[in-house]
Amino acid sequence: MEARRILVANELTSYRQAIALAIRDLRPELEVFEAAPDVLDGEVARLCPDVVICSRVTRTVERRATNWVELYPDCKSYSTFSVCGERRALEEVQLSDLLSLCASLP
């Protein structure tokens, strides 16, 4: 089976790098990619990721990604998880929430 692909494209470079590296280290079975927010749509089209983690979900992400996380939009404390089309909002997301999502992909 092909490795699940995770695209990390949240804002603020060191945060993006840290999340990408942490997922890669803690879930080595996953394929983790990193992209700046301004190339998010293109990378979604190119990589067809199983999960997108970003700061601002785009129409392309909504249309093409099965699972996505809008992480701290506008640096607010809440985030939105969309898993197979089902959305839920979470306050104070932890790293373990992201890891759990990535590990439990259908």
């Binding site: 470079t13 945060y15 840290a18 942490a22 990619f33 701290y72 104070e92």
Partner: protein, 161 residues
């Protein structure tokens, strides 16, 4: 090992719960060579107060704090990392005596009591400020390797004191 560390760290952090590839670790700065057979380095290491240098993470939001802590714990295994909520920063400085702090807003207690600190994205934009032994550096867009380099400098400072 990282996983077990992560869960221990998360257990330690108080707070209620409410409902293109990364450049690769090869691009990150390597830990400084400690040359344990060097008597000067060894003596400095022995002087190091409680053993391992300490990094206190108090930036927000939480997942980013935990992500950076996980990476430092993985790539700098000789460093002790603790994460706390931002409101607990001052009390944690007194309790933990960190050699370095990463936070979102530097406090007077931090500036007066810790030699190395990073004010990470204080206005939620890309700019950050680092203080390393009294020397201030501004970053237009700080990178993870920058943070690791500052950790290394904090470790060096801790060992020479």
């Amino acid at each position: 090992m990282l996983e077990s560390w992560l869960f221990v760290s998360m257990m330690a952090e108080a707070g209620p719960r409410h409902g293109a590839t990364l450049g690769g670790t090869n691009s990150l700065p390597k830990p400084p060579d400690k040359r344990p057979d060097d008597p000067v380095v060894e003596a400095a290491s022995t002087r190091s107060r409680r053993g391992r240098p300490r990094v206190l993470m108090a930036n927000e939001p939480r997942a980013y704090r935990e992500g950076i802590a996980a990476v430092i714990g993985q790539l700098r295994p000789g460093v002790e990392v603790e994460t706390v909520e931002p409101h607990a920063l001052d009390a944690s400085i007194e309790r933990f005596s960190p050699d370095m702090v990463i936070c979102s807003k530097a406090t007077a207690a931090l500036k007066g009591g810790v030699r190395v600190w990073v004010e990470l994205y204080p206005d939620n934009d890309a700019s950050s400020v680092a203080n390393i032994g009294g020397r201030r550096t501004e970053y237009a867009e700080i990178q993870l390797p920058d943070l690791l380099s500052i950790v290394d400098k904090a470790e060096e400072l801790a060992q020479t004191n």
